[in-house]
């Protein structure tokens, strides 16, 4: 694919040189540290707050490593995903709007390479940050609460990564289709909420990407779950969304 390597390198360098580095990795690392801490101090917090109240007694289970992992996964699913949707609203369109894309695309880089390099570079950023955050979460949890089901957390993080890849693909398509980054982000939030709602229905959840996040939590808790179908459908959806984005971008005037 002509020009892919050069443009991919530019995208990675741009992530490191600009504010983008602080968004997703920042949220991920923040969650990795705060989730175990929050879980560890939760009984104390409740105790302190309860003591100041009207005498209402709240029973909080003893903090465990698994609970910290679940808290971490919850943050990944909500906080980080919303950050992803907002940060990548202009993943393609911002270059077209600013005019930098015009200079690049008059050189021998194919439009497919242009879009794929953007997608893959951000996927790498998410993967690197995700691996680092998971490792940090396991480390901090081990220090505070002992070693939990780390392998299950790693598997759950893998499922979360698939979900992130899916949302990134959604954002690529939306950013190609809608010229305004804010409009793409708004539509992305809509897709995210739709997936969250669909995830509440077992039939849909078990056979679509909507079940990825709940499957991750179940893995950590050692509960039976369905994750193969959600994973496969997520991969297929990524391929379809990217193909649609590439097709649309190849026809678009810059």
């Amino acid at each position: 694919m002509t020009g892919f390597r050069a443009f991919f390198g530019k995208e990675v360098a741009e992530t490191l040189h600009t504010w983008r580095i602080w968004v997703l990795p920042g949220f991920l690392l923040f969650s990795a540290v705060t989730a175990p801490l929050f879980t560890y101090f939760m009984p104390t917090l409740v105790d302190v707050l309860g003591g100041q109240g009207s005498g209402l007694s709240i029973q909080v289970p003893d903090p465990t490593a698994a609970a910290a992992y679940v808290e971490f996964l919850g943050n990944l699913t909500e906080l980080v995903m919303l950050a992803l949707v907002i940060a990548y609203g202009g993943i393609v369109s911002s270059e077209v709007r600013s005019g930098t894309g015009a200079l690049t695309l008059t050189k021998p880089i194919s439009r497919s390479a242009f879009v794929l390099a953007k997608w893959l570079s951000q996927l790498v950023v998410i993967a690197v940050a995700g691996v680092a955050a998971t490792a940090i979460c396991i480390g901090v949890t081990a220090a505070l609460l002992g070693v939990g089901p780390a392998a299950a957390l790693a598997a759950a993080a893998g499922l979360w990564f698939a979900f992130a890849a899916l949302l990134l693909s959604v954002m690529v398509l939306l950013s190609v289709a809608l010229r305004a980054p804010a409009a793409a982000s708004g539509a992305g939030v809509g897709v995210y909420i739709s997936l969250a709602v669909l995830g509440q229905f077992p039939l849909v959840s078990d056979a679509s990407p909507a079940g990825l996040t709940s499957a991750g939590v179940a893995l950590v808790l050692g509960e039976p779950t369905v994750w193969v179908a959600p994973l496969l459908t997520a991969v297929a959806a990524c391929a379809v969304l990217l193909a649609a984005g590439l097709w649309l971008f190849s026809r678009r005037e810059i």
Partner: protein, 428 residues
């Protein structure tokens, strides 16, 4: 299988995990072995440590990424280490691309601006045939046709909104004609192969603000397949050319003129056969403008330069051929001298005598006289077929008629006169 709940330790789960782990481990081993055996020069960026970390840290994606993009093909690597030798086994297009990329980009013909320099091949670098481009209800281009000879410096003139930028965007592959045909160097405009041979500078070039000029030029060069020493040599020369060698700040802090110069430098990074420039001098001060025009003139005969402008003095200074466009149509295309001559400009004389009516009568029957008209000065304006003969015989004729010669001079039409005359015709 997938419809049922799978406990973590079920045989299906274990089998799937085993397959995934086997694939991942296989790719990891393949990538690591390749990385260890491959010379550093054949690894992208030459940095094996980064790839090693990426493969080890990023599950599955890292090895795939390295295997797909991190390895320089042997043929390309050979070209990287010795850019003077074009790979013999490459296809014709790749050979041509490398040859162009390795060629010197500037100065071979000097900055004389000699319009007699011969075009490269004599073929057409740009051919537009009945191109129509419609935006909603508005036709930006309305059956535009023109042909630009290869190696020429071609001025594309027109008032604001005439369709100049749209035409350039079509040639650069950023837009497509609604109908009609646009061909660049014999190929349909916009293809990746065609873009290998063109350089493009938009009217307001936009760059990645976090980069320096050198970083941007390196990035642009890499998009054309330049690497290693060849790339660094080209970047250094272009920085010198753009007078940005000592500027170390990020592009975000550049003035408009600096960005314009950088824009021109990036358009030359691939030694283009066709240089498309949209209003290249509009943001420059007089000195910068002169430098850019000298540079364009120096490219004559080696590179076809197609530049749009509304600064007629620029066109007169460097162009061989011009096309004047208005409302999406070419209303005139010719060599500059031809254009002025065709409209009676080159062979026009203004003569003032004490009795113009008697002179008009005396001129009747002169074979070198094409037409005669009153001039705004009160004298006569003569269009002549043979200027030298007219200049030789006219004073004698005046003297023979007993008239007193007060003024005799050639009155060349400027390009501006031609432009205003042509464009003004269609205006209310």
């Amino acid at each position: 299988m997938v419809a049922e709940s799978l406990p973590v330790g079920s045989p299906w789960t274990i089998a799937l995990l085993a397959v995934l782990v086997a694939v991942e481990l296989g790719l990891l081993v393949w990538a690591l072995v390749d990385l260890a055996r491959r010379p550093a020069a054949q690894v992208t960026g030459g940095n094996r440590l980064i790839w090693l970390l990426l493969c080890l840290l990023v599950q599955l994606v890292g090895p795939i990424l390295y295997l797909a993009t991190g390895r320089v093909r042997a043929q390309t690597a050979a070209a990287t280490t010795d850019r003077d030798h074009v790979p013999a086994a490459a296809d014709a297009l790749a050979n041509e691309r490398l040859a162009w990329a390795a060629a010197p980009f500037y100065g071979a013909t000097g900055a004389s601006g000699d319009r007699s320099a011969a075009p490269a091949t004599g073929g057409a670098a740009v051919e537009l045939s009945a191109v129509r481009k419609v935006f909603g209800q508005t036709a930006a281009l309305d059956g535009l046709s023109l042909s630009v000879p290869e190696g020429s410096v071609f001025g594309f003139l027109g008032p604001n909104g005439a369709g100049k930028t749209t035409t350039l965007r079509i040639l650069a592959g950023l837009a497509r004609p609604t109908t009609g045909s646009a061909r660049v160097l014999g190929h349909e405009a916009g293809g990746a192969d065609t873009r290998t041979f063109i350089g493009y500078l938009p009217d307001v070039p936009a760059f990645y603000k976090w980069m320096t000029a050198a970083q941007y030029l390196r990035f642009a060069g890499r998009l054309f397949g330049l690497e290693g020493a060849a790339l660094e040599t080209r970047v250094a020369a272009l920085l010198e050319l753009a007078d940005l060698r000592d500027v170390k700040t990020h592009i975000g802090g550049y003035s408009r003129g600096m960005k314009q110069r950088l824009g021109l430098a990036q358009a030359l990074v691939n030694t283009p056969r066709l240089l498309l420039l949209d209003e290249p001098t509009s943001a420059l001060d007089p000195i910068g403008r002169r430098e850019v025009l000298d540079m364009i003139a120096a490219l004559r005969g080696r590179t076809t330069v197609f530049f749009s402008t509304h600064i007629l003095a620029d066109v007169e200074r460097v162009c061989d051929t011009v096309a004047i466009i208005d409302r999406g149509r070419v209303i005139e295309q010719a060599g500059i001298d031809d254009l002025r001559g065709r409209r009676g400009g080159l062979n026009r004389l203004v003569v003032e005598v004490d009795d113009p009516a008697r002179l008009a009568a005396a001129l009747t029957g002169q074979t070198w006289l094409r037409s005669l008209a009153p001039h705004e000065s009160g004298g006569l304006s003569l269009s002549v077929d043979d200027l030298a003969t007219a200049q030789r015989e006219l004073p004698a004729l005046i003297a023979h008629s007993g008239l007193a010669l007060q003024r005799l001079e050639s009155d060349e039409l400027s390009l501006e006169d031609v432009f205003v005359d042509l464009v003004g015709k269609g205006r209310p």
